[in-house]
């Protein structure tokens, strides 16, 4: 398959590393240097280094950069507290904020030529979604004890054989819909941009799609985080 020039892959190929030309390589080393892994590490490095550079050390009277980060963080915490309560927001904030930043930056990075979105690979989004899925049920068992399984049994006992498979199916459908929505949107953006660059890149044909890409990136990060919040709060509240 044709693929765009990714500068990290080019660099690694210059170092004689077996960069795969498909999605995922064969050997362990090829898997480790496949584009979505290397760009995930790039995003991670960006997210670790960037706040360090801009904030430096936290001061009592915030400067410009610290003001910005404080506004972002407190805005996100307020958004979470609205949906899952103060206590739940404080407990789940590190994980959800990580997802929000990671997915936002990972979506946006694909808009630059020479970069790709790690989230345009189903494995990455499925990994994020599985973390959300298992955390949901761990939270359920933490808040309700062993009685959490009653969430799956329906209101009356003689409906249990009917309701239990239905509930399990709808919980599994969440995994698929959460991962495939993010993957599909971002991969569509990437593919469309690639095709338009090849067809009419010299005439600025991809520009409208780039604008739409910014919008899609923000919306998909918001959707992923909001749906995780809703799933978490649904597993924490009392059985109906």
């Amino acid at each position: 398959m044709e693929h765009p020039i990714l500068f990290i892959s080019v660099l690694l190929e210059a170092l004689h590393l077996p960069v795969p030309h498909g999605l995922v390589g064969d050997s362990l080393l090829a898997k480790l240097v496949s584009p979505h892994m290397t760009y995930t590490w790039l995003v991670m490095a960006f997210l670790i280094i960037m706040p360090k550079l801009t904030i430096g050390k936290v001061e009592m009277v915030p400067g410009k950069a610290q003001n910005f980060w404080e506004a972002v963080i407190s805005g996100m915490e307020g958004f979470m507290a609205e949906n899952m309560g103060k206590e739940g927001a404080r407990m789940m904030f590190p994980m959800l904020a990580t997802f929000a930043f990671y997915i936002l930056v990972a979506n946006m990075i694909g808009l630059m030529p020479g970069f790709m979105s790690p989230t345009s690979n189903l494995n990455i989004t499925l990994g994020c979604t599985l973390i959300v899925f298992f955390t949901t049920h761990i939270l359920g068992f933490k808040f309700h004890g062993i009685n959490y399984y009653k969430h799956f049994l329906g209101p009356v006992w003689w409906l249990t054989p009917l309701i239990a498979p239905i509930e399990i199916i709808s919980h599994l459908a969440r995994i698929l819909s959460l991962s495939i929505r993010l993957f599909g949107n971002i991969m569509a953006k990437e593919t469309l941009l690639g095709i338009l660059f090849i067809l009419a890149g010299a005439y600025f044909a991809p520009l409208p799609i780039l604008v739409l890409g910014v919008f899609v990136s923000i919306v998909q990060a918001l959707v992923f985080v909001l749906l995780s919040i809703l799933y978490f709060s649904a597993s924490m509240e009392h059985a109906h």
């Binding site: 609205e82 239905i166 199916i169 459908a173 819909s177 929505r181």
Partner: protein
Amino acid sequence: MAGFGKEMTKMLIEVSTIGMTVSFSIFIGVGFGYYLDTHVFDGRTKPWFTLIFLGFGVAAAFLNLYRMATRKDIGDGKE
């Protein structure tokens, strides 16, 4: 999304999941039933588990639709 309302955005996102949930519920049901038929029971029960779990998948899809439709916090006249 300034000027659009936080509640509205949240509801839009929640409601937008329903289409995917419906289709994936049905596919998971059929897939699991087909797996039971062909791999667990080696084709002795050929069409039956697929059909039964297709029913479960459709039921799960419609249960989700029903829950979304009868929710108390959507459309209670709050601005």
